[in-house]
Amino acid sequence: MCTVCGCGENNKHSHKHAHDHDYSQGVAGVHVAGLTQTRLVSIEQDILAKNNGYADANRGYFSRHGILTLNLVSSPGAGKTTLLTKTIQALNGAFPMSVIEGDQQTANDAERIRATGVKAVQINTGKGCHLDAHMIGHAMDDLKLKDKSLLFIENVGNLVCPAAFDLGEAHKVVILSTPEGEDKPLKYPDMFHAADLMILNKIDLLPYLDFDVQACINHARRVNPAIKVLQLSASTGHGMDHWLHWIKASRELSLIGRQITAAA
């Protein structure tokens, strides 16, 4: 394959024009390095390479300090903040915890978290529809994370964009509330594909809804055969014990075989 114009066996585009490979036909008439010439620069780089670089740095930090980071994603109103506040209360200081809150506007959610006594940083993305790994790096500086702690990231309520942005977390946890309908995993497959755990929230409302739990789980597994599913109601507390066990077990797993470097 020609590395200059990309034509050849792997070429997916066609040239309507004929062209040759003469590099001396620029405005200068001769090829002199540094002078204006039209040329092709090969990049071959992931568009998200920069974000992924920051995410790797975050992940390295979490690993060195034994920090379990969970990235909570859902559509707006699925109950992320209620789940978080109830989780923090239920864990009752079993280990150090902190929260990064992402929203387009307001510090309301961070205030709800701080009311539980846990340290929280609010990131307002303005017009942005997701958190990126660079924002998380700055928030980590503010939080001064403790070794062997638990960090929750509550992403911007959006089932589309946060799927693509690795923040360096151990797991994406997608929260789907029953009033949203059982076909969400098929409508937003990228998010359910990216998540390791799906929490089916607001199951206390099932008697009032036409929501087929098994169909929802089947849809999620169709997009992501390995996804784990928990059913709970954050507001009534039903099923919360399974979620707390999952967190504790994930934390234990993340610590196995790790040599924790004490924070400077």
Binding site: T38, I43, V223
Partner: protein
């Protein structure tokens, strides 16, 4: 909407390359976008024009090569083309399939002067 962030990332890469490769104008940029990636090409074209404004890529033409999504069906032991992440095998209707290609979002190359 995240197409704006992706375009900002592309422009940053372009500006970094401009210093390394010593060029001052970008005429075109070619991307490879997988069928299963979370990118809508129409939104990408729209966002690119807005984000490239007043940069060295202002006015550059964006080309998007669509990369088809391919998966392996363990029932047929065959590679098949799919349109959605949750598609069943077109031959035997088995699912889930093992996805092999279609997630990529890459900057392939660019024409500069």
């Amino acid at each position: 909407m995240h197409e704006i962030s992706l375009c900002e990332s592309i422009i940053e890469t372009v500006c970094k390359e401009a210093t390394l490769e010593r060029f001052c104008r970008v005429k075109s940029i070619r991307l490879e976008i997988g069928r299963l990636s979370c990118v809508n090409p129409e939104a990408m074209f729209f966002a690119f024009n807005a984000v490239a404004k007043d940069t060295i890529a202002d006015g550059a033409v964006l080309f998007i090569d669509a990369i088809p999504a391919k998966a392996w069906c363990k029932h047929c032991d065959a590679d098949v083309e799919i349109m959605q992440r949750y598609d069943a095998c077109p031959h035997c209707e088995y699912y889930p399939l093992e996805i092999k290609q279609g997630d990529a979002m890459r900057i392939k190359d660019m024409e500069v002067e």
